[in-house]
Structures are given as structure tokens and as C-alpha cells.
């Protein structure tokens, strides 16, 4: 955890100290990114162009926002399977809010996020107070969200298009040359690092992930922490959905389906233990970039869809096997 507190800019100046204290999984993930870029540049030098890399970071930022929320829940030793339809809910509700007259476009983004937070709170309540395994609760609320969205849209793609603020957030340029989506991801990442390393809540999340009993006996209100964690995951999933709707300028049925596995894989590839309690946020960032690059490079190489899926799955299994061999040392 200590390595995440390092400012990313100071990595170069403090390389020896950083290397000594860094999580080997994080270093492996960043190493794999470099290796992947190096190998792909043999195929085409375009892979190293600034334009391509920025484009990839932009695509990665949607996954990055979702994975940040999923990571909080995984650190607790739980899982959030409601990502796909909470994302879709966030996207559809943000677009729907655009129809609320003149205030519509203003409240679109917060409204989408609030809907996702509500699903997160529902998940958290089920896990923390009703003591239902998170896998079941979140799977169920995923289906509930799906049902509600089908009722809302009648099963068709909704007609509302994403309001201008949503589109601006995903595709605009506040700083010329740097897509806003990347800025959003950087801002959320900064908040997550602060949350994990500097707040009592962050410590409690790691504590519960390691031993819920010890955390409870230490006087931590474990149920509240679990509730909040799931709420964060729901909010960020919905926010990811909002960004995605802005990117494709409208919400669509099942638009979040392609994000569940990559989000969990990104967190775990970044060295976070799927059993909870261990992992650093920079690892998740690395995992997100790695997975996005892998998907992109395979498709640029014009590998057929089936082959891409196979390579993608095999890479995840191999990486997890590699991590499984490293001694538990954080």
C-alpha cells in the first residue's frame, strides 16, 4: 500500500527506493505493458505513436473508472457482479434526465450516478446486514437493473441521445490534445489513492479484507464500511456507463456487458488479491491499460474475434498463474 502513496511523477527521480518498496505485481503489470508495446511496434510503428496511445488511454478510462469501484469491493473480499446493468442504468438514466426540461442536461450526470449509487447501497445492504453472499446479491441486482431498464425502454434502444454535457465529458477537450475522459480517470484515480492511503475508511477496507473479525473487534463499524464500499462501486459503475454513453452519444441495451470480466481481470492482474486485503491502486491502473492495449492490438492485427477471445482468456490465466507463484508479500 505504501508504494501507492508515491507521486507518479516522482517515480523516475526516486527509482531505487520505489523499486525496493513496490509491489512486484504492479511492476510486472507495467513491465508487461512495455513488453506488449515493444512487440507490437515490431508489427507496426504506429503502435508507438502519441495519437494511438492517447486514443487507447481514452478507451481505457471508461474501464478504469469502473475498475476503480470494483477494486474497493474486491479488497473487502467481496465481488460486484452487478457492473454490466448498473453501467447501463447509469447511462440510460443520464440520457433520460436530459428530457427534464432546461435543467435536464445539468442534472444528467449526477442523476445517472445517483441511480448507480442506489443499486450499490442495495448490494451493500444485502451483504452487510442481510448477510447474503455478495456474489448472489450483486448477481440478483444485476438482473433487477436489467429488468427495470427493459421496462423503461420497452426492450428497444432508447431514443434519447446523450445530452451535451455528457458528450463533452467523454469526448471534449478541456486541455487541448488531452481527451476529457482521461482527465476524469486521472481525477478519480487521485481520489482513490487518497482514499486508500490517507483515510480511515481506506485502512478499514484493507483491515476487513484481511480479517473481518479482527477489524470488528477493533471497533470498526464493519457493516457501514461494507455498505459504503458497495455504494462506491455502484456509483463508479454508473459513472463509467455515463461516460460510455457520452462517447457513443447514446445509451444502448447491454452496453455494459463487455465490462464485467475486464474490470475484475484488470483489478486482479494489477496484483489485488481476489480474496481481499491486498493490492495497490496503481496496479489496477496498470491492469486496465494492459487489458485495453491487449484488446486493441489483437483487433488491429485483424485477428478474428474467436481467436482474440482465446488469446485474451489465455493471457489472463497465465498472468494469474504467475502471480499465484509469488509469495504473499505486499
Amino acid at each position: 500500500m505504501s508504494d501507492t502513496s508515491e507521486d507518479r511523477i516522482s517515480i523516475r527521480t526516486r527509482l531505487p527506493a520505489f523499486l525496493r518498496r513496490a509491489d512486484p505485481a504492479v511492476l510486472t503489470a507495467f513491465g508487461c505493458i512495455l513488453l506488449l508495446l515493444l512487440l507490437s511496434s515490431l508489427y507496426s510503428s504506429n503502435f508507438l505513436s502519441l495519437n494511438y496511445l492517447l486514443q487507447q488511454l481514452k478507451v481505457a478510462s471508461f474501464l478504469g473508472v469502473v475498475a476503480a469501484g470494483v477494486m474497493v469491493v474486491i479488497l473487502l473480499g467481496h465481488i460486484d457482479l452487478s457492473v454490466p446493468w448498473v453501467m447501463t442504468t447509469g447511462a440510460m438514466m443520464a440520457c433520460a434526465a436530459a428530457g427534464f426540461g432546461s435543467v435536464g442536461p445539468v442534472i444528467a450526470i449526477p442523476f445517472g450516478i445517483i441511480c448507480g449509487t442506489a443499486f450499490g447501497l442495495l448490494n451493500g445492504f444485502g451483504v452487510a446486514y442481510l448477510r447474503i453472499p455478495s456474489m448472489i446479491v450483486t448477481l440478483a441486482s444485476n438482473v433487477v437493473a436489467q429488468g427495470l431498464m427493459v421496462v423503461y425502454t420497452g426492450g428497444f434502444s432508447p431514443q434519447d441521445s446523450a445530452p451535451p454535457p455528457v458528450r463533452w465529458l467523454a469526448t471534449g477537450f478541456l486541455i487541448p490534445g488531452l481527451p476529457n475522459a482521461i482527465l476524469v480517470w486521472v481525477a478519480i484515480s487521485a481520489m482513490m489513492i487518497f482514499l486508500f492511503t490517507r483515510t480511515a475508511f481506506g485502512r478499514a477496507v484493507y483491515g476487513i479484507g484481511n480479517s473481518e473479525r479482527a477489524a470488528y473487534l477493533s471497533g470498526v463499524d464493519t457493516r457501514r464500511v461494507v455498505m459504503i464500499a458497495f455504494a462506491i462501486s455502484g456509483a463508479l459503475s454508473a459513472f463509467g456507463g455515463v461516460l460510455l454513453a457520452g462517447y457513443s452519444s447514446k445509451a444502448a441495451q447491454a452496453m455494459g456487458d463487455a465490462y464485467l470480466l475486464p474490470a475484475i481481470a484488470a483489478v486482479v492482474l494489477g496484483g489485488t488479491s481476489i480474496l481481499g486485503g491486498r493490492g495497490s491502486y496503481l496496479g489496477t491502473v496498470a491492469g486496465v491499460i494492459l487489458i485495453t492495449l491487449l484488446q486493441s492490438i489483437l483487433s488491429v492485427m485483424q485477428m478474428p474475434e474467436a481467436g482474440r477471445q482465446i488469446v485474451y482468456g489465455v493471457v489472463i490465466i497465465v498472468m494469474l498463474l504467475l502471480y499465484g507463484r509469488t509469495p504473499p508479500n505486499r
Binding site: 490517507r198 485502512r203 473487534l217 477493533s218
Partner: protein, 517 residues
């Protein structure tokens, strides 16, 4: 017993010079034991005297390091529990070994179910179960009933029937009655006596002296892994038996106890009529500031539950708790640690309850006191650092650094971290659950000093220990628990090993006269 004459020449089972070590700890040393058919042989001893190891060796669960065992005068070694079972040795363990979701018949025949065409022959299995249940005197239990639907006492009967189904010649009962009520115990006793008259050899382990007096033909006392004496039942008084069980040599340096001052203030911690299911019954106690009060008694008589109940962990505990004379509802550890009560609990198992082993020493130390060093949920690192440094110095915690996993520390230093993490909150009430278990003598001494310093600084301390010497050396008063009740309160010079053990066993002979000052 007239039956003793049948096997006068050589015993059914004999154990000679058996020793067993676990790492550097000697669990059993040069033990010998003769078990005769048609007799009930009681094994007595304190916690950790070697009784469990003895049984495990007999039942083939662990192998002895040296020594030999003879069955019918023939040398025998058991490579597995199945081998011991085949030779006719069956065990009824204190933890029930039944599978709740299976039927009674399934459980009874689980080790060796009758087979037909490779499948379990349910009819034959039922017949076996019915016969075994009848032999155990529990014909009323239906073989097809699910074990989880039976009350505890019936399950214990199934457990005995299961042991009998293997047609043993020697039946070992390890604390088999500890879960039973007095009425059930009487039924079990009738069964055991009948089995004895059928020629079985029974090995009976219990802490309850009156049970042993009623049942046993022969007694063997163990202490520190050696058998101290074997004698015919009824030839020694309870008091003499207790003498045999104690007498360990220990020389710990305990800090001197200050004279007890009479304080007019209400006690810092008081509880009235505390109850929790049948684990805690009508417990009333008080601890004044500056006082160290011990909890004694045999393992598992409710001491741990009492500490957890006071700390707000147990749901459904009844009774009232008063802090400084003010009634308080303590519903969770979060409430217990808050400033109004300022309680701290050093839990039983530091590896799962006290610490997060993979997390760093720093994170563990400040974990319970984060609200003291943070503002609006944001940790003030300077304040955290100061408090941690202070605690590391105060308790002399030896660590290679604050950023290594706490699991890398020695047991004694881990325990220091658990205590330090609570001392950071400056608690006014400290509950300790066997804090010196498994740590070295040097650290133990430091802890005794620390306890007394805390008390002198005004804390109220409630201290459960399985080590009688600690209770004698550290405590101003000791409350002895038995079966979830406080059966005796010892104070000052009355806290002696003899008094502690006698009241722990709940024997009521001449001890009290001897200790009245």
C-alpha cells in the same frame, strides 16, 4: 470390583514408556498405563497435562516418538485411526464428530458402510444403526432422523452409538459429558456401567470430580506429561487428588501488589445478572479502578464469552452493564471502545482476532485508534507517527521496521502489538483474554509489569488466564467460573493454586476451612 480378577494376569491394554514431543514441547514423557477389561479407568489432569496426547496415541491419530503399546500382551502399532479402530479401540471425542446434515444411520456407519454391489446397503446400515443405538441405550432415536434435528444430549448418544458400532473392546470417552445436563449425564452413566458389566474397558476423561467418584474403578493422574500416580478409586480424597494434579515449578517475577485502598466511588466496571444462552448464567461482578481482577476456572467455562459479552460482541446477552455507576448499553465493539466507556479487549487469538497478519506493523498499531489521529476521516500522519513511536518505545516492541508485515514478528512481539494498539486509546477498562498464551517467559514478565502499571494509572483490569500462577501472581481478586457461573471469589492471600483448582473443579470438600485466614 470383582471383574478385575478376570484379567488379573495381564491387562487388556498396556502402554510403556511412551513419549511424544511437539517441536520443543514435551507433551508426554515416559507415560505408562494399564487398561483392564470390565473396568472404568479415569484419567485426571490439568489443561495441558498430556491427556489428549495420550488418547490421540491410543486412537492412532498421532504416532508416539518412543515407547510401546501392547494389546493382549502383543506389541501393536497403529498407523492410522482406522487401524486402531480395527484393533478394537474406539473414541468418543469432546467435540462432536457427527455430520449434521446426514441421518443418524449414515453417521453411525460412516467409517465402514455395508455395501451391496458397490452401493451402500441402506437396509443393512439401518440394522447396524438400530443395534448400536440399542446398545447405547438410545432406542428412542430414529435411525433415519437427521442429526441436526436432534438436541445436543441425543447427539452425544449417537456419538456413543457410533463408537460402539465398530464393536470396540476399549472405549475412550474424552469429556463426553461436558455438553450434557445432569439428567442426560445420569442416562449416559447407566449405559457406561452396563457396558462395563459386558466386559468393555472404558477410559474416562473428565474434569468433574463427582462424576469420577461415581464411575471410576481406577484413576490415573497426569501432570506435565508424566503420570504421577495410579490408584484404585475411593482410596484418595478429593483434596489429595487435587494435590497430585498441581505442583508445577515456575518462577515468574510478578510485580508487588499494592495494598487495596477503599474507594468510595462506584466501580469502574460492573455487570449485574449477565446471561447468554446457557453459556453465561447470572454473572454479577465489579472491577474498581486500579484493580486487577482475574477470571479462573477450567478452559471453556464461559470466561471467553463473559469478556466478549462485556465488549458488546455477543448478540442476545441479557443483564445490565454499568460504567462508573452509569448504566450503559454496549451493543458493539465500536460502542465499547468509545470514550464514554473506553474499553479495550485483547482477544484470544491474536492471529485472527487481534491482528491482520499481512498488514504492516504500522497499520496494525494504529488500526483501533484511527479515530484519535484523524480528522473528518482523513489520517493525520504526523499524529499517527507520534503515537506509534510512543507505543513502540513504551512496550519495547522489537521489529525490523514499521513497514514490514506484522506476521513476521515473533509471537511475543505480535502480542505486544495487539496490546499497544489498544493502549493507544488510553483505555480505562482493559479486558484480557489469555494474553500470555504461547509467548516467551521474558515477554510474559514484561506484561505482568505492564498490567500493574496500567492498574496503578487508574485502569480497571479483567484478566482471564489459563495459567494459575499468573492469576496468583497478578490479581487482586480472582473469580472462578464453572459451567457459566461464578462459583467462587478469592481475594488476597486466599488466592492459592489449591483453592483455584479445587473451585475450578467445583469440589466442595475441606479446602475452604484451610484457606480461611
Amino acid at each position: 470390583m470383582t471383574t478385575a480378577e478376570i484379567q488379573a494376569t495381564s491387562p487388556l491394554f498396556r502402554m510403556e514408556g511412551v513419549s511424544k514431543r511437539y517441536g520443543g514441547v514435551r507433551a508426554l514423557e515416559n507415560a505408562k498405563l494399564d487398561v483392564e477389561a470390565g473396568q472404568i479407568h479415569a484419567i485426571l489432569g490439568e489443561n495441558g497435562a498430556g491427556k489428549s496426547t495420550l488418547i490421540k496415541i491410543m486412537a492412532g491419530v498421532v504416532a508416539a516418538d518412543e515407547g510401546r503399546m501392547l494389546l493382549d500382551g502383543q506389541d501393536i502399532t497403529f498407523r492410522s485411526p482406522a487401524a486402531a479402530s480395527a484393533a478394537g479401540i474406539a473414541c468418543v471425542f469432546q467435540e462432536l464428530s457427527l455430520i449434521p446434515d446426514l441421518s443418524v444411520a449414515d453417521n453411525i456407519a460412516i467409517a465402514n458402510p455395508p455395501r451391496r454391489f458397490g452401493l451402500i446397503d441402506r437396509r443393512a446400515q439401518r440394522a447396524i444403526a438400530e443395534e448400536a443405538l440399542a446398545r447405547a441405550g438410545a432406542e428412542d432415536i430414529h435411525p433415519r432422523a437427521a442429526v441436526k434435528d436432534l438436541p445436543l444430549s441425543r447427539r452425544q448418544m449417537v456419538e456413543i452409538a457410533k463408537a460402539l458400532a465398530s464393536k470396540p473392546r476399549i472405549l475412550i470417552l474424552d469429556e463426553a459429558t461436558s455438553a450434557l445436563t445432569a439428567g442426560d449425564v445420569a442416562k449416559v452413566f447407566a449405559v457406561l456401567k452396563r457396558l462395563r458389566s459386558e466386559g468393555l474397558a472404558l477410559l474416562y476423561i473428565s474434569h468433574r470430580m463427582h462424576e469420577i467418584a461415581e464411575l471410576a474403578d481406577t484413576c490415573t493422574v497426569f501432570r506435565n506429561g508424566r503420570n504421577v500416580a495410579s490408584f484404585r478409586a475411593g482410596t484418595r480424597s478429593n483434596s489429595e487428588v487435587v494435590e497430585m494434579m498441581i505442583g508445577r515449578e515456575y518462577s515468574n517475577v510478578f510485580p508487588p501488589k499494592p495494598p487495596r485502598a477503599v474507594i468510595a466511588k462506584p466501580p469502574r466496571l460492573e455487570c449485574r445478572n449477565l446471561g447468554w444462552g446457557d453459556r453465561l448464567r447470572d454473572i454479577s461482578l465489579s472491577v474498581a479502578e486500579g484493580e486487577v481482577v482475574g477470571l479462573g476456572g477450567l478452559d471453556g467455562q464461559g470466561q471467553r464469552d463473559l469478556l466478549l459479552a462485556l465488549f458488546g460482541v455477543l448478540r442476545g446477552a441479557t443483564g445490565s452493564v454499568l460504567i462508573d455507576g452509569v448504566p450503559m448499553t454496549i451493543a458493539s465493539p465500536a460502542v465499547a471502545r468509545a470514550s464514554r466507556s473506553a474499553m479495550a479487549l485483547i482477544p484470544e487469538d491474536r492471529k485472527t482476532e487481534g491482528l491482520m497478519l499481512p498488514m504492516t506493523v504500522r497499520e496494525n498499531l494504529s488500526f483501533a485508534a484511527l479515530d484519535h489521529v484523524s480528522r473528518g476521516g482523513i489520517i493525520d500522519r504526523t499524529a499517527e507517527e507520534q503515537l506509534i513511536d510512543e507505543m513502540v518505545r513504551l512496550l519495547a516492541i522489537k521489529t525490523a521496521g514499521l513497514d514490514i508485515p506484522v506476521g513476521a514478528l515473533s509471537g511475543g512481539n505480535q502480542q505486544k502489538v495487539v496490546i499497544a494498539k489498544w493502549l493507544m486509546r488510553k483505555p480505562r477498562i482493559v479486558l484480557l483474554n489469555d494474553p500470555t498464551r504461547g509467548i516467551d517467559v521474558g515477554t510474559k514478565q514484561e506484561m505482568y509489569q505492564l498490567l500493574r502499571r496500567l492498574a496503578d494509572a487508574g485502569a480497571a483490569i479483567l484478566f482471564y488466564s489459563t495459567d494459575y500462577d499468573e492469576l496468583i501472581g497478578c490479581c487482586d481478586r480472582v473469580l472462578v467460573l464453572y459451567d457459566g457461573r461464578i462459583v467462587r471469589e478469592l481475594e488476597g492471600r486466599d488466592i492459592t493454586e489449591h483453592a483455584l483448582i479445587a473451585s475450578a473443579l467445583n469440589v466442595d470438600d475441606g479446602d475452604r476451612r484451610g484457606t480461611a485466614a
